[in-house]
Amino acid sequence: MNNGNGNKIANKFVVPIGPQHPALKEPEHFEFTVDGETVIDATARLGYAHRGIEKTAESRTFVQTLYMMERVCGICSHVHATAFSLCVEKLAEVEAPPRAQAIRVLVAELERIHSHLLWLGVGAHEAGFDALFMYSWRDREVVMDILEALTGNRVNYSANVLGGVKCDVTDAIRDQILTGIDYLEERTHHYYDVVTTDAAFLQRTRGVGTMTKEQAMRLGVVGPTARGSGVEQDLRVDAPYAAYDIFRVNRVVEQGGDLEARFIVRVKELFESYRIIREVLDNLPEGELTARMPRRIKEGEAITRVEAPRGELFYYVRSNGTDMPDRVKVRTPTIPNMASVLHLAIGHQLADVPMILAGIDPCFSCNDRSVRLKSAGGDDVWTWEKLRKYGIDYYND
């Protein structure tokens, strides 16, 4: 296989994938090493959005770090804040009151609805289906209004405080949530039909980026991407945190393993979230909203794992007795999903790489101009499309 400059040696060519995508926290840049036809190595180069959060956390007090942790990812900010406050509460041996835990679950599920509708829209936009993008984002405004009424902000709602929550559910908000949820549930039935029956859409999702259950388990894939391949892994069920032990979640698992299965898992999880929200609102425990929290956290380590919309979110906090954390480690769910998809590419034919990458549905709206060409000898820059075209020709002749 020569790629324009005729050399047969294993050459490294750069696939420039768009550096920005709302669903993936880190814009990435893939690099494939090819030997003849098969891909022998695939790596990612992140860092476009690296803001040095873990180091800056060491020079901030616990409360300031909480506000920074909410801004790790704009779409699942509540989940990051919940994980961090649960960690700090474990360190300080403080238990947030039951009403606060229930409200945390409520806001987490509202955020899951907002994040899944967002991904549904962006996925459709990526497949060129703008009508679904417009409709799903229009309905998402309903859940954004609810979040704003409940917490005061549409995105980065900072409902969490160390030791509890700072927003309460009044009757007016309760009714607004219930009416909003009824409307959304009726709309989600419509989306379920679109995702499972619309021919034009299925052409772009069925059989794309398939991952078997065994592969998913071995590679440590998390969240809906794993549940789409049949892996029973949902932290809200396996390791219930906050009030998930009271408000039971039943697992949503699909066996398909391809992009369509992941769409279906996310839409089914929407139904699940509506049910939990209604349950939380029906039996919301009484009581205050926050527990007293010492300023200085005594020495120790704590780990929390939380189910973010995209998968398992891991937080490790270590304190040294002062009011500043000694070390904060955050592992977002996108890293293992991306690593496993990259690993999946190894051994595959070059022609299959477009399907596998499309599987994690990165958005290629690439301002590719911002990618620096690799100057090392033998490198050749293929555009994403050239690679896809190469794949098609490869199979035709």
Binding site: M134, A200, Q203, C363, N367, D368, E385, R388, K389
Partner: protein
């Protein structure tokens, strides 16, 4: 129509300015309809004109490794091609300005001249994305061109000539839409391919290859290309209405017919997701061409039996 002074015909009435303005109007209707179908408000009526003037007043950047003359000439060529095609097609229900034997073929190839110019422009501007846009535009051109021509041939075969005015006379009374259903549908869908409307907008898929073949173009060049695209839309609709929907009638009926066509096309556009380039090519070669050929055979056989 020949009594109209040729210069005026070319510059103003059925030719240049009128077609461009009508094209801009149709582009506005298309965008407004698409927005309304997507539950949005959509642009104001003068939006395409404002876009046009803004583009004309912007700085022109020519990539240094592109051939400057070609970079500047191609948009003009594309617009010229479309405007000459406008002369052969009966617009606004009136007879075409010129009528030359075999002008059906001329019109179709003048229309595909625009796509060629876009392809050349993309290749000339050597950006990675424009190169990919070019490959997609041209592969799509070769896929829908054959069925489009075959679909337009069926009325020509019935009328027994290649001259649009004669075909239009033949098609005057009869609504060929019902007697040639397959080629009517293929003509419309091929028209969508030519105008690169979704589901055939792979060549300028904003989420995949940024701007497609015209990524490098800006200012004047882009304005001219957008104008030729708008004019192409008008001429395409005019051609299909003339051949399939009962030839030249009064302007009002012509306007209604083309608007109905525009509504149908926009509906399809909103409902469909974008098809990958290999799926579009597959669709055209597997179904488009086969159906068109079947239609032609049926016509020829039927003509032989009846006449």
């Amino acid at each position: 129509m020949t009594e109209l002074n040729p210069i005026i015909a070319l510059m103003f009435f059925p030719g240049g300015i009128f077609v461009m303005l009508l094209g801009l109007l149709y582009v506005w209707i298309n965008r407004k309809l698409r927005a309304r179908l997507q539950n949005r408000v959509g642009p104001r009526w003068f939006q395409p004109i404002a876009d046009l003037f803004k583009l004309l007043s912007k700085e022109e950047i020519i990539p240094e490794d592109a051939n400057p003359t070609l970079f500047v000439v191609l948009p003009v060529l594309a617009l010229a091609g479309v405007l000459t095609a406008a002369l052969y097609v009966p617009i606004l229900g009136m007879k075409a300005v010129h009528s030359v034997p075999g002008d059906l073929i001329i019109t179709v190839y003048l229309l595909s001249l625009v796509t060629m110019c876009i392809g050349l422009a993309g290749a000339n501007s050597t950006g990675r994305f424009s190169l990919v846009g070019v490959t997609r535009t041209l592969t799509q051109l070769f896929s829908y061109e054959a069925p489009f021509l075959l679909a337009l041939l069926s009325p020509a075969i019935m009328a027994g000539t290649w001259q649009i005015s004669e075909i239009v006379d033949y098609a005057g009374g009869r609504w060929l839409m019902f007697t040639h259903p397959i080629s009517f549908i293929i003509a419309i869908v091929a028209l969508m391919g030519k105008l690169e409307m979704p589901p055939f907008d792979a060549p300028e898929a904003e989420t995949e290859i940024v701007g497609g073949a015209l990524t490098e173009y800006n200012g004047r060049g882009l304005a001219l290309f957008k104008l030729s695209h708008a004019a192409e839309m008008v001429i395409g609709f005019a051609l299909v209405t003339a051949l399939f929907m009962g030839g030249t009638t009064n302007p009002l009926l012509w306007a209604v017919q083309t608007l109905v066509l525009l509504l149908v096309v926009t509906l399809i556009e909103v409902l469909m997701a974008r098809m990958r380039i290999d799926q579009t090519v597959g669709l055209w070669w597997r179904y488009g061409s086969v159906l068109a050929i079947v239609q032609i055979i049926v016509l020829v056989v039927w003509q032989r039996i009846v006449l």
